[in-house]
Structure formats: structure tokens, C-alpha cells
């Protein structure tokens, strides 16, 4: 596959405490990780095909820390996509196209299934939400100060981050997945 460069929006919601221990090379809060990772292409393409606006959502479970592998994932590719875009998105989403997702999805060695879904994507800070019709429901809200109740905003700069170099943190007010093999709430 030709070299490629994409600019993406990225949402993660998981079972851990606020802040994600993984970015500090720590173990997941309950010892295992289950969650949803989702991407939407803002700009760029692969092999001459523009992928702007394309999105995919991955529901995933790892029995331990992510880097220990044995994860099982179901990828939902947003519809509609063209016949040319579909295999490129599949290759990207499963890690076969290389880049940061090669290492990340390489931890899902218990199996990756690819399906189609209709994705609703609202990428707007504390008001963000994500849906895959009938399968995934995520709503974010601000983290709050436990004494005053005021909204509290936390970001992390990751100079050596694998998938991104800056993350903004919120609370997942709701995280629900009802895929065939992966179900949690």
C-alpha cells in the first residue's frame, strides 16, 4: 500500500476511571479494558481515493492491559461508502494499512470482525456523542469538581503518544455496546 497521511478526529470511551491509565503506561482500572474507539477522517486519502468524512467505530475487549493483546474487536464502517473506499477503510481500521493502527489493532489477536453500521458523529467537547444504530451509544459530559460541582477540564500532552499527541478528557455519562460478541454497559 502507498504511503498515506490522514487527519482524523478520535473518540475513546472505556470502563476505566477518568483519565485513562493506559496513557501513563499503567494497567486498566479493573484489570481489563472494554470500550469503544472511533475515528472520523477530516482530510486525506489513500491510493488516490479521498476518505474525507469517512468514519468507523470499533467496539473492543481486552482481558488484560491492551499491550498484552488477546483483544477481540468488532469494527463498524459507516455507511454509505463507495466500493473503492470500503476496502481501504477496512485495511485502515484493522491495522493492515499500517501506521499507528497497525500496532494498536495488532493487540486484537483474538479476532477482528468488520461490519457495516450507520454512525452518528457529534465531536463537540463535553457535548460529544456517538452512535452506531442499534449497537453503540456514547454520551460525554464534563468531569466535575467533587466539592464545588464546577466543570473541570483536563488535557494531556503526549509527546511520545502512539495514536495522538494530545487528548482532552471528559466523563462518559453513558457507554453502551450491544454487539453480538461484545456487550457491556
Amino acid at each position: 500500500m502507498d504511503s498515506w497521511k490522514l487527519k482524523l478526529e478520535h473518540v475513546i470511551a472505556c470502563n476505566c476511571d477518568w483519565g485513562c491509565p493506559c496513557i501513563y503506561e499503567s494497567r486498566p482500572t479493573p484489570g481489563y479494558c472494554e470500550g469503544v474507539v472511533a475515528w472520523k477522517v477530516l482530510e486525506g486519502g489513500i491510493e488516490g481515493f479521498d476518505l474525507s468524512g469517512a468514519a468507523w467505530v470499533t467496539a473492543v475487549k481486552w482481558p488484560g492491559a491492551i499491550h498484552e493483546g488477546n483483544g477481540r474487536a468488532t469494527v463498524y464502517i459507516d455507511e454509505p461508502v463507495t466500493a473503492q473506499q470500503r476496502p481501504l477503510l477496512e485495511a485502515l481500521a484493522t491495522g493492515r494499512a499500517g501506521g499507528p493502527l497497525k500496532a494498536f489493532m495488532g493487540t486484537c489477536d483474538a479476532g477482528i470482525e468488520v461490519r457495516s453500521g450507520r454512525v452518528s458523529w457529534k465531536f463537540d467537547g463535553k457535548q460529544s456523542s456517538l452512535r452506531v444504530d442499534g449497537v453503540v451509544e456514547i454520551d460525554l459530559e464534563a468531569i466535575r469538581n467533587p466539592v464545588t460541582g464546577d466543570e473541570h477540564f483536563v488535557s494531556v500532552d503526549l509527546a511520545t503518544g502512539l495514536m495522538n499527541q494530545r487528548e482532552d478528557f471528559y466523563s462518559a455519562r453513558q457507554l453502551k455496546v450491544g454487539a453480538d460478541h461484545i456487550e457491556f454497559e
Partner: protein, 141 residues
Amino acid sequence: MVDWPKAIHDGRGKAVFIVPEKIRDDQLDALAKIFTGQLKAMPWEILGTTYEVAGLVKADIEVTDAGMESSLQVPGVAKAMGQTFKNPVTGEPHQAAIVLEDGFIWKRGECGVGSFKVDAADLHLDYKNTNWILYDFDWSN
């Protein structure tokens, strides 16, 4: 050195202050007022209400200022040392810094892994490979 039994905001902490042996009385008095919140400056006007002062130790404090690898030693009383995160797969150093635009203690903290041991007055703490944050601060009242 502080020990809170639960979350910091739940209070009931015990604090032991370590100051240089050669500190003057007026310096010690000023530090005591700042760190118990009597001068109404953030963050101590909040933090100072979450603990009671359980002791004061006068001893030499040796600080080795080396970024994330900094260390602190008070012979016989306390020692602490930090290091960067290591990527668990490659072993390479990993850098993560927390940004708190509205942070009332600090606005940016470099995160890593630390170990520390404290035997100061009645306070005894011994932790290995736990939270370590390095930050610059700008406090005033």
C-alpha cells in the same frame, strides 16, 4: 509530607513539615502561615483545611534537580526519586504531561513514576512505582 486517609477533598489528613535546620524563626512562621492557609492564598487556603499539622522536623534537605529524574533526600527522614514512564513493549521513555487550564495548584505537570519513603514524626509512608508529577508553580495572595 502528607497522609490523607481518603480523597484529599474528604480531609482528615496528617501533615509533617520538614524545614532546613538553619531556618530563621520569622521564615518558619511565614511558611507555617502559608501552608495552613492563614494568608488566604491558593492553593493553601483550600489544601490547608484538609490536614492537621502533626509534626515539624528540622533536617538537611538535599534536592537533586534533574527533571523527571529528580530526587529528594532528608537523611534518616525521607527520600523520593522519580523517573520517566517506559513503554511496556519497546522500553522507550514515554512522555505524558497533564494540562489543567483551571488548575488551582498547577497548570501543567509532567507525569512519571516515583518511589518514596517517609519516617517523619508519626508519619510512615513507603511507596514504590507510584504517581510522580513534576510541575512549576506560581502562587500568590
